[in-house]
């Protein structure tokens, strides 16, 4: 008798057949999910001749990294033929400060909202939270104007501002929900010992918040790295993030279509978040389920 909720592994041919069917279905789904990645990878390793003569799913006859090199620093995006590399660095330059600033402010907000509660703290939280449901289209036009006035239109700094502001509802939500589960006595005891607002934050709360810190950083990293709409709307030419550059690369209509370069470019743009997922998938899932309102 099993003491678990799941069904006991049965015996006999019927149970075996059921098991086999189960694995067949799961395996088919695994193929569906893996196919695009495998096709992308295998196409990116082929030469253009091989793509034309061979088929979609065939493995590359000889592996060539040429398309990767081309996508990285030779492919033409608009009139500029220096590949995705500069845009990749743009994204990195954008994502690091945006993630750090929005996470730090979110941590402060969450702490202030739960551990030094004041009248109306819940109303303030609700006010901030609304931002996480807002369709981005509502702010495109005013934001474009405002960035113009601030004279940071089209720049990476402008885009950092955008990502910090619209990341705040999420980072605040994460930290608020985490801190609310920590005992208030921690703060009380520390106050009696003479510790102040910031001392308690840096010495007690922040070290305790490491798990949610990791979740928030991963969440913000993937959101900002994968963003397209803000990048396309607010970053011009040299300051564009890699997603925008990739889209331009793929949709360039001049010359012969180089599918292997397109796929290599897509892989390059996907690598950072894939890497994060491979290394910290557990935290990624936690972030998804904790802040699953962002689109």
């Amino acid at each position: 008798m099993s003491d678990d909720a799941a069904p006991p592994p049965g015996r006999g041919p019927a149970a075996l057949a059921g098991r086999l069917a189960l694995f067949a279905v799961l395996g088919l789904f695994a193929l569906y999910y893996l196919a695009p990645l495998l096709v992308m990878l295998s196409t990116s390793l082929k030469s253009i001749d091989e793509i034309r003569s061979g088929s979609l799913l065939s493995l590359p006859r000889e592996i060539s990294l040429e398309a990767w090199g081309h996508a990285w620093n030779k492919a033409c995006i608009g009139v500029d033929c220096s590949g995705l590399a500069p845009y990749f660095w743009n994204s990195l330059l954008l994502v690091v400060p945006s993630v750090l600033i929005s996470t730090l402010i979110g941590a402060f907000n969450g702490y202030a909202l739960t551990k030094w509660r004041f009248r109306g703290a819940n109303a303030v939280f609700a006010l901030i939270l609304f931002g996480s449901f807002l369709p981005s289209q509502l702010v495109l036009l005013p934001m474009a104007q405002t960035l113009g006035w601030l004279q940071i239109a089209g720049t990476t700094s402008g885009l950092i501002l955008v990502h910090v502001v619209y990341g705040l509802p999420f980072t605040t939500l994460f930290f608020r929900n985490y801190f609310v589960s920590l005992p208030d006595d921690l703060v009380k005891a520390a106050t009696i010992d003479g510790a102040g607002f910031f001392q308690i934050f840096f010495k007690i709360m922040l070290p305790l918040a490491r798990p949610i810190l990791v979740v928030t950083v991963i969440w913000q990293f993937t959101q900002i790295w994968n963003d397209f709409l803000y990048g396309a709307s607010f970053a011009a030419g040299d300051a564009q993030p890699v997603t925008v550059a990739l889209n331009n690369l793929v949709n360039t209509t001049t010359g012969v279509k180089q599918y292997n370069v397109d796929m290599a470019g897509a892989m390059i743009a996907a690598l950072p978040t894939l890497l994060v997922y491979a290394l910290a998938g557990r935290y990624f899932v936690r972030g998804l389920t904790a802040g699953s309102v962002k689109g």
Partner: protein, 307 residues
């Protein structure tokens, strides 16, 4: 304090001031965020609302002109296509993602080997940008080089999968790619909830001779009902905001057969110099999202749960 203090007054004053500061520190820390949200979220929503009732075309003008932009918006065939597509795409996307996600969660719940590996495979698309996955799917669904050609090469000369270039079917390719991207996430949500279902009831049902399918249908799925609600809200919200997927996969085409409100808004605002119509369409999007979110938040808050 036992320090030799000749004049206690400044010390006391400083302490009092520090306590006052301490007491209000949380408000001081929150103030910049609140100001930013008030301006960049609420202020901007009002700004967009105002633009939608002005005669703004190429540049914003700030004089009231009535609801002309809304009238024009709803007279545009292209907007009707975008809204119809949203209903079609959104509805199918939510339903299929739910079905696939629940099915996978239930299957993975059967104490199978390689669970970790399978979960990783099912969920990784969520880590990728729609621009990346749209690029990949565009290539796979391309009739002359993708699946269609592949199956024809296998000897099935008449096989056709040219949805992506068909006016009437291109919108379904959006569903394929979006389901691929998001169903793993639905699975994760349901798997977590299913693991939390009381094992005693399930055990009792099993002793009574209930089949696995019956247990899921009769006990486990009803027990995880709140997750259905959350998942629908999240997925519907994703559907309304879908922009990058369309841009990367179909570019809104062929023609504007795969336009969604999000792409329509961008087109009107930044390409067609009709920013009042663009703003009006953004307000319609907000109304759609609100119609989904408000009942959800209401029930969440009323249930006494933390948001």
């Amino acid at each position: 304090m036992t320090g030799p203090t000749a004049d206690p007054a400044p010390d006391v004053r400083r302490t009092r001031w520090r306590m006052l500061l301490q007491r209000h520190m949380s408000k001081i820390v929150l103030a910049p965020s609140c100001a930013a949200i008030l301006l960049f979220v609420y202020g901007f929503v009002l700004w967009t609302t105002w633009i939608s009732v002005t005669p703004s075309r190429l540049l914003p003008v700030y004089e009231f002109a009535g609801f002309d932009a809304y009238v024009r918006l709803w007279q545009m065939g292209r907007w009707h296509i975008a809204m119809t597509n949203l209903i079609l795409f959104g509805g199918l996307f939510v339903l299929v993602s739910l079905a696939v996600g629940v099915l996978l969660a239930a299957l993975i719940d059967q104490r199978i080997r390689a669970e970790g590996l399978l979960r990783t495979i099912y969920l990784y698309p969520m880590a990728l940008s729609f621009i990346v996955t749209g690029t990949a799917w565009k290539w796979i669904l391309n009739p002359t080089i993708g699946i269609q050609q592949f199956v024809r090469d296998l000897g099935f000369e008449d096989f056709t999968l040219d949805w992506i270039v068909r006016h009437d079917l291109a919108v379904y390719t959006l569903v394929i790619a979006a389901v691929w991207q998001s169903s793993g996430f639905v699975m994760a949500l349901f798997l977590a909830a299913m693991r939390g279902v009381d094992g005693e009831i399930v055990k009792a049902a099993r002793l009574d001779g209930a089949s696995t399918a019956r247990i899921y249908w009769g006990i486990i799925l009803p027990a995880v009902r709140p997750v259905f609600f959350s998942a629908v809200v999240i997925l519907a919200h994703l559907a309304v905001k879908s922009y990058d997927l369309v841009v990367a996969l179909t570019g809104g085409g062929p023609g504007f057969a795969t336009d969604l409100p999000a792409t329509f808004m961008y087109e009107m605002t930044f390409r067609r110099n009709q920013i009042n119509v663009g703003a009006a369409s953004a307000i319609m999007m907000l109304a759609t999202v609100m119609a989904i979110i408000v009942p959800y938040l209401y029930s969440e808050l009323r249930g006494g749960k933390r948001v």
